[in-house]
């Protein structure tokens, strides 16, 4: 049999190229509109800098090392907050999903706290915690805590009772039940929670830095605002977005890897 030539639109390499071209052209369009707006309205750079101004400021901040210094502080805070928030949420989520008594005792507070503006706690933490790095991690952890907790509880509650009975019939220990059944079963929901958590952690870290810090990208935004260095504010904003996107991408990669079985055909 001869190989039929596949139609161009089905070729995976053509498809990937098309996707890259699409992404690149939408970015180009965005920059063009931005530049056009600045020229048309003739904004001064301290009101709205053009892409060129921001790029130049980025190169300067990258060259003198200040951007890397602030970005790495924020990254540490984000990662610390993520690890702290997700591990406490996992632990509490497991206990709540397992113990009806604890659930009845604690759940009303969780529901109430979900509506609570956690970010408003940040100034209070300034009084309580001196170290700004640790304080910012805690703010980040607080911001992502409830959405992630809710996801984890939902994931663990969705475990099929028949699979639990099967595991019990094999005399699985509590730990085996968790690590071999509940964790993998809840994994898709947990990863979805982690994606939300990763972006929320960035927001939390910025808030933490806003209320009192002398380092980090949130601090840099405040600083640049005081100096009317608007291009630097944009540089910091884009770097924050890059961190959030990078983390989101990492979790997506992890997801692709861990849930690869779903794609087996």
């Amino acid at each position: 049999m001869t190989n039929l030539p596949r139609s161009l639109s089905q070729n995976p390499r053509v498809l990937r190229l098309a996707r890259i071209l699409l992404g690149a052209s939408s970015l180009a369009l965005f920059l063009l509109l931005w530049e056009g707006l600045v020229r048309w309205q003739d904004y001064p750079p301290y009101i709205l800098p053009g892409p060129g101004d921001v790029w130049a400021r980025f190169l300067a901040a990258a060259a003198d090392g200040s951007l890397a210094r602030h970005a790495s502080i924020t990254l540490v805070e984000v990662l610390g907050g993520l690890v702290l928030g997700v591990s406490v949420a996992t632990l509490l989520g497991y206990l709540l999903a397992k113990s009806p008594l604890l659930d009845q005792l604690v759940s009303p507070y969780i529901v109430a706290l979900q509506a609570f503006p956690v970010v408003a706690l940040a100034p209070l933490l300034v009084i309580w915690i001196e170290d700004s790095l640790i304080r910012t991690m805690i703010v980040a952890a607080l911001v992502l805590f409830f959405p992630v907790l809710v996801n984890i509880i939902a994931g663990l509650r969705s475990v099929e009772p028949e699979l639990v009975a099967m595991m019990r019939s094999l005399q699985a220990t509590r730990w085996q039940m968790f690590i071999k059944l509940e964790a993998p079963f809840a994994l898709p929901v947990l990863l979805a929670g982690l994606k939300i958590g990763a972006t929320l952690a960035v927001i939390g870290a910025v808030i933490g830095e806003f209320v009192g810090a002398d380092r980090g990208l949130g601090f840099l935004i405040n600083l640049a605002q005081g100096l009317l260095d608007t291009p630097l504010m944009f540089v910091a904003l884009f770097t924050l977005a890059a961190i959030a996107l990078g983390l989101y991408g990492l979790v997506s990669l992890l997801e692709r890897h861990l849930l690869a079985w779903k794609r087996a055909v």
Binding site: R168, S169, L170, Q171, P184, W261, A264
Partner: protein
């Protein structure tokens, strides 16, 4: 005797207003026996199997495995559920090896045993497939292999082929008889199908409508190995009729009382 039930009763729910699922069930099973359990829907067949598997405790009476009362799940008893209950994120090989993994066997050892059981249920070549890549019948065969891997003395099957089409069912029943012969395992199987029960079993137990009591214990003295030739055999047909006579017709009242 491998299995002894003495005056076993089970009720669910509020003790003030209990739902009696099973009442005063007593019977015994010899080693190597193949027993089928039939009865109308809601008569407590699954409940009885879960009691023997140690997943539920009887409300009264006792269940002995050999001379030992059953206090909980036990490696000597394996259960196959109506749904295959395979873990979708595990390959067939890892699903079948699960009982050994939980027992802490080394990877090499558990794969060796699992591969042998996979071959026994004729799934070789599918070791690295995921459950969603298998047909329903293949999934059930994997579930049976997973139970066999534990090397149980008593294997409980709860309508294992209930969701499959008639031809696949017939084929898998033949496979089950082959495994019963090859592994010399004792089998207690729940089924809705009377002709299937008679064809497979040494004895057929009949449960009544709720509360389930043991209505009949009918020996099936048909020679083994059983073949399709039996389907037209007059002794077989008489036995099917005999079992059918003991089964409560599902009444509208009986069915609606099952509704919560």
């Amino acid at each position: 005797m491998l299995l002894t039930l003495e005056h076993v009763s089970k009720s669910f729910g509020d003790p003030a207003d209990p739902l009696h699922a099973l009442q005063d069930i007593s019977f015994q099973m010899r080693r190597g026996e193949f027993v089928c359990l039939v009865g109308p829907s809601g008569s407590g067949k699954s409940t009885l199997l879960r009691l023997i598997a140690g997943l539920l405790r009887p409300s009264s009476g006792q269940i002995l495995l050999g001379d030992e009362p059953i206090r909980g799940p036990n490696p000597r008893v394996g259960i196959v559920f109506q749904a295959s209950n395979l873990m979708p994120w595990r390959t067939v090989l890892d699903n079948v090896a699960l009982p050994l993994e939980l027992r802490g066997e080394s990877k090499a050892r558990r794969y060796e045993i699992a591969r042998a059981q996979i071959a026994l249920v004729a799934l070789n070549g599918f070791e690295h497939h995921y459950p969603h890549q298998l047909s329903g019948g293949m999934q059930q065969r994997a579930a049976i292999a997973r139970t066999l891997v534990q090397n149980p003395e008593l294997m409980l099957l709860d309508e294992p082929f209930g969701a499959l089409d008639a031809l696949t069912r017939e084929y898998l029943n033949q496979e089950l008889l082959r495994i019963h012969r090859a592994e010399n395992v004792t089998i207690l199987m729940v089924t809705h199908a009377i002709h299937e029960a008679v064809w497979l079993a040494d004895r057929v137990l009949v449960l009544s409508q709720r509360p389930g009591v043991l209505k009949a214990d009918i020996p099936i003295p048909l020679p083994r190995p059983r073949t399709e030739a039996l389907f037209t055999d007059s002794r077989y047909l008489t036995l099917v009729k005999q079992v059918r006579a003991h089964i409560d017709r599902p009444t509208v009242a009986g069915l609606s009382s099952k509704m919560p």
